[in-house]
Symmetry: C2
Subunit: 199 residues, 2 copies
Amino acid sequence: MQVSVLFSGGKDSSLAAIMLEPFFDVELVTCTFSLLPVGDIARETAEKLGLASRVVCLDRSILEESYEMIVKDGFPRNAINHIHRSAVEYIASEKKAAFIADGVRRDDRVPVIEHSQARSIEDRYGVHYICPLKGFGRAAVNEMVKEHLVIEEGPSEGIIKSDYETELRELIRQRNGPDMVGELFPSHVQSRVIERKKT
Amino acid sequence: MQVSVLFSGGKDSSLAAIMLEPFFDVELVTCTFSLLPVGDIARETAEKLGLASRVVCLDRSILEESYEMIVKDGFPRNAINHIHRSAVEYIASEKKAAFIADGVRRDDRVPVIEHSQARSIEDRYGVHYICPLKGFGRAAVNEMVKEHLVIEEGPSEGIIKSDYETELRELIRQRNGPDMVGELFPSHVQSRVIERKKT
């Protein structure tokens, strides 16, 4: 059975992929708006994990819509969720894999796909949307990551990864300057996978 | 890392255990009130899965409390959830394993442990409560089960397994007769694992 795992190069989506690996043919899928070379970074990280990967270019209108949202809201939650949902819908519409997965954890509020949205996507596209880490809290995920991955952690602005935030921040930087990025995104710790441990 | 998986001999808890197997030392734990030989059935099924197992006798007062609940409510939800939560708390209090898991799926309403209850258990006992199938819908679980397990399915009254319902039904049968069992429990399909497929 084939699964497409939405992949940011961070610890959560990497661990989700590793958990599915014994049961599925895993393909990592990274979405980009071609604003930054996030696809190249994702490909490098996927190689370190030893997993197949590809990069998908999403329509720039999705990024524009999420730009409007974050500027209007003053916080990134709805904007990031909009990109995530659009990405899942796009992968679902391709119908390349019967299963689509992401690295959303139990305690995550962003990005997250609500129960009803998940069922709607499954019904409309005839796919299974699965979240291998949905039943795992942050501390449990960290314990498992420690066993399987070498990661680098730091504040969002210092870690280059392939998540939706990276390109949305860049668009805001280009249009409104770096101070606006700092105002709209609360400072939080990001992770990037450096290596997969031999187990 | 050690994980205790609450085990009923059904497809969900079996699949949850199989998903954790590549990453943890898995021990299946079946809880009983010693009203029926559910422990023996669980041990047999665990052997077929090739996983270590043990049986834990829970205090009969928990069954009595859930009996009171189902008779008062007229439906089994709160009663079953009470036993499930008590079982998780008991396994957590033993501190034999740092991780405690169950087979709860995305769409399950019974048994289920709410987010706040999960965090409370984790904080009080210093354990991780994990639900490997929490991010999987019914159809996705069925696809995975098909790959890994041979199961028998049928109405609750025809399938002997090692879940909480079995002994609660028996207590009601002893005290109130078989008709009352039919009134309190809506008829639903149960599964029992017959064999593990070689993959």
